[in-house]
């Protein structure tokens, strides 16, 4: 049985986010915000949620190692900076301790009488939006593979790493499929790296969510991303089904033409590794 290892402090799992920072990520999505800004917000919120899941009254338990790689104008770079800039993957307690800044944001909450009131909440920020240059996807996949080969060597009994790749365009440094295949062949005793791909769109095309075959995909680029994506393991199929998606054991971890809401859902599903303990 693969993808069943319990996640514990002695055997954590890893989440590595690969974020396209090419110039087109500066295009606006719904509202005034660019794709890069929206992805950065969702990524920061996802990191915050992962920290929250690991936080107990006595402190943060290191169930996860987390990394972010951005790729664009300056090639591939660490998405974290400051105290987190020295290496790619960090235990989640280090992520908790080192946000770049903590913003005060407002959210609307029920006032108890049927209305809504604004409440100030803390919003930690680790990753800031960038959009500039080309799409060196091969270089990004190579950097991810290098980081994860080393991680899997050190964690042979762990639930395997999950790579969540966000992109809005075609690779500008060559065909990424072979490297994606190699990345998916890295693994632990519990299974191979999960590569989940999401294609972000600023237009109104209907999203294609977790397809089970190439049929119905609109073009060779969509088919390429499909072929690069892992099959969803059983527990992620179940989690996606609970969220209302029509998925089965043939479904791939791939969303095409994702809008803002789909990005949020994709990150939520992709970071639901098996049971923490």
């Amino acid at each position: 049985m693969t993808y069943t290892a319990s996640i514990q402090r002695s055997d954590p799992t890893a989440f590595l986010f690969l974020v396209d920072q090419s110039g087109s990520m500066g295009d606006r999505m719904a509202g005034e915000r660019t794709k890069a800004q929206f992805v950065a917000d969702v990524l920061n919120r996802t990191l915050m949620n992962l920290v929250t899941r690991c936080t107990k009254s006595e402190g943060v338990r290191d169930y996860f190692d987390i990394g972010v790689l951005g790729y664009g104008h300056s090639g591939v770079s660490n998405g974290f900076s400051g105290a987190l800039g020295g290496q790619i993957l960090h235990p989640i307690s280090a992520i908790e301790a080192n946000p770049l800044l903590i913003e005060d944001r407002t959210k609307k909450v029920p006032d108890g009488t049927g209305g809504l009131v604004e409440q100030t909440v803390k919003f930690p920020v680790w990753f800031q939006p960038v959009s500039n240059g080309g799409t060196p996807m091969r270089a990004a996949l190579t950097s991810a593979a290098e980081a994860l080969v080393a991680w899997c060597d050190q964690h042979p009994n762990s639930y395997p790493p999950t790579v969540l790749h966000v992109t809005d365009g075609e690779s500008t440094d060559g065909d990424p499929e072979e490297l994606a295949t190699m990345l998916r062949q890295i693994g632990t005793n519990d299974g191979q790296v999960l590569l989940l791909n999401i294609h972000v769109s600023a237009n109104d095309s209907s999203p294609i969510k977790f397809p089970a075959s190439e049929n119905g995909l609109p073009d060779p680029y969509a088919k390429l991303l499909f072929s690069m994506s892992s099959n969803l393991p059983e527990h992620l199929v179940k989690f996606a089904q609970e969220k209302g998606y029509f998925v089965n054991s043939e479904s791939r971890g791939f969303v095409f033409n994702a809008d803002a809401a789909e990005i949020v859902e994709f990150f939520d599903i992709g970071t639901r590794a098996s049971q923490l303990r």
């Binding site: 514990q8 899941r53 107990k56």
Partner: protein
């Protein structure tokens, strides 16, 4: 009603203080309770202990009693003094199962209230007569309803069918054994029963905490029992 045996093994057997299962018995021998605090919770150990205390105080499992438990939990922490991550984890809420077993001596019966995936089996003369709230081992893979420190997530307590789904009344006698179990050992037991393997009967006779520890650790090693906090309480009458 008396406790014939009770023992718990933490998921990390070297860190018993991190065990988030809780069990308690009322001094008058009327109520026994067991709660399994969820791992992804800020302080489910305290929450599980409060739920057991409310149950053993004879307050039952109702919107009112759980609301009182929520208040007791909220009094432990001042969110304004917590770090951003602890504050968010606190607000996210805690989650736990609850088995509350109340003995009615006059009527020679027990009323079991079960919320979540902690389970009870009832045996007469060492033969299985009832399982509750699950019927088969596959149900342990479903996402259970849990009691939360957030009242807004406990709406199922107001469900008109709450009693149908969550309450079992069963006659008991001096020949009855009632086993209360958290999910890891419950799943192991249900699976053994479903596969007609007799080793589940060990739970009716085991009387040494050391032996129980060895049994759990061995079962984990053989990958036949999930690595999780594991608690067994055996009641007799």
């Amino acid at each position: 009603m008396f406790v014939d045996f009770a023992a718990s093994v933490a998921k990390d057997s070297d860190a018993e203080h991190l065990n988030e299962d809780s069990y308690l018995f009322s001094l008058d021998g009327r109520v026994a309770s067991l709660s399994d605090g969820a791992s992804e919770s800020f302080d489910s150990k305290s929450w599980a202990a409060i739920l057991c205390a409310i149950s053993c105080a004879g307050l039952g499992v109702s919107p009112e009693s759980i609301s009182q438990a929520v208040k007791e939990y909220a009094a432990i922490y001042d969110p304004s003094t917590l770090s951003w991550s602890k504050s968010m984890a606190f607000e996210r809420g805690n989650f736990a199962t609850l088995l509350s077993c109340e003995y009615n001596k006059e009527r020679s019966e027990v009323e079991v209230v079960a919320v979540g995936d902690s389970v009870v089996i009832i045996c007469e003369n060492s033969e299985l007569t009832r399982r509750f709230p699950f019927d088969d081992p596959e149900q342990f893979n479903e996402r259970p309803e849990l009691l939360s420190t957030r009242n807004d997530l406990n709406g199922f307590l107001n469900d008109p069918f709450f009693n149908t789904k969550h309450v079992l009344v069963s006659p008991v006698s001096s020949r009855t054994a009632v086993l209360l179990m958290t999910d890891a050992i419950g799943h192991w037991c249900y699976k053994a029963i479903a596969e007609r393997r007799e080793e589940w009967r060990l739970l009716l006779s085991i009387d040494s905490v050391v032996e129980f520890n060895e049994f759990v650790l061995e079962s984990r090693k053989d990958k036949v029992m999930k690595i999780d906090d594991t608690t067994l309480v055996r009641l007799r009458f």
